[in-house]
Amino acid sequence: MLGNRPFELKTVRHYLAPGLMMLVAVSLIPLAHPALSLLCFLAGSVSFLTIRWLHAEIRKALDQKCVLDAQLIQSQKLASIGELSSGIAHEINNPLAIIGQEVEWIRHVAKEIEAGSGLTIADMQDSVQEITRQVERCRDITHKLLDFARKKEPLIQAVDLNKLIEDMVRLVEREAKQHGIAIERHYGQNVPPVRTDGPLVRQVVLNILNNATYAIQKEGVITVTTKESEDGSADIVISDTGSGIPKEDLNKIFDPFFTTKPPGKGTGLGLSICHGIISRLGGTIAVESEVGRGTMFSIRLPGAKT
């Protein structure tokens, strides 16, 4: 999309310069010699026509650009739909494959029972439970996807950011402690109330804290920092002393379905949902990481009132 912008500017400038020059020339002529008024009138008409023509050209160029933009957006949309659907297909087909096999096994056991081989209904129990588990897994994926697609319109309220974060930290802290994980707070003293969507920000903070505890597994520190930046936006920084993220994965972690958790344990939608929320709130989210040392997520939220 950005590629089109220079084209637009160049086009306008290209037509604008001669038009302006002609206008200046035309307005100077009567001053130089009053007798040239007829010529002046002619020149005026010419410049009027030129401007009309210019206008039409610019319109045409802009229309063209709109078409190009629309095409580009559409093709980007298609590409991401393609990517998304292959992700969904994969994530849903795996549990479906397991369900299919368990059904097959139940059929086998049923046949054996009929044949009186000594197997009983109890031999199906485990398979039935597994099917329930896998259905749950599919449901988790589809629900998160719906959440992702629903694009909830943010509702903007004044939010005490430190308080919001502290609530989420306390929610995570007890389980974290059990794994030997300490949470350090560095809340900025004068972080002003932020105008944002509280529930959405809570969801983001909780997701990132949860990822951090998962990355640490056992024994480590999560540090939560808030501060006001010069331009009036608020910064939230959450860092951990966990596993870190390999360089080659860094640009994939916000992609839907990217996960390094074992099958069935993570949907890989957490961070892509976070990214979607923060962009909708007009903010940014960035990551820095080093394998073996830890990871740092920085979120910048606009709308801090000073």
């Binding site: 909830k152 509702l155 989420m168 929610l171 802290e173 007890r174 389980e175 509280g198 969801q203």
Partner: protein
Amino acid sequence: MEDFRVLVVDDELDFLETIVKRFKRRKIRADGVSSGREALALLEQEHFDVVILDVRMPGMDGIETLKEIKRKRPLMEVILLTGHASVESGMQGMQLGAFDYVMKPAEFEELLEKVQQAYERKSLHEEKIRESKIIV
């Protein structure tokens, strides 16, 4: 601003009574029920603005109840209450559109503040919908 209705849902009857009483003392209209099913039944019949919902309840738990409430009344704001913090249910709750999460024992002042914010959000939401209807 004070003219809104709160429904408290908790199977711990002592807690339920105290909270409802405290709301009423502040002239906030509050009712209490002790299960998810009762809550859903009451919401069918009467108008409420904010629901305070215990996560751990026998039978239909808080998360299930939240799901149903959001399905039937998408604009309802729900604050979750929990005795022991569980990250799992917290994530689920926020994802399902809960407004906030309060840990027991909850300080009443804190709960009150959250209820007020939740109500403000609901009003904003309704206003927004009204506006968009006018434009259309």
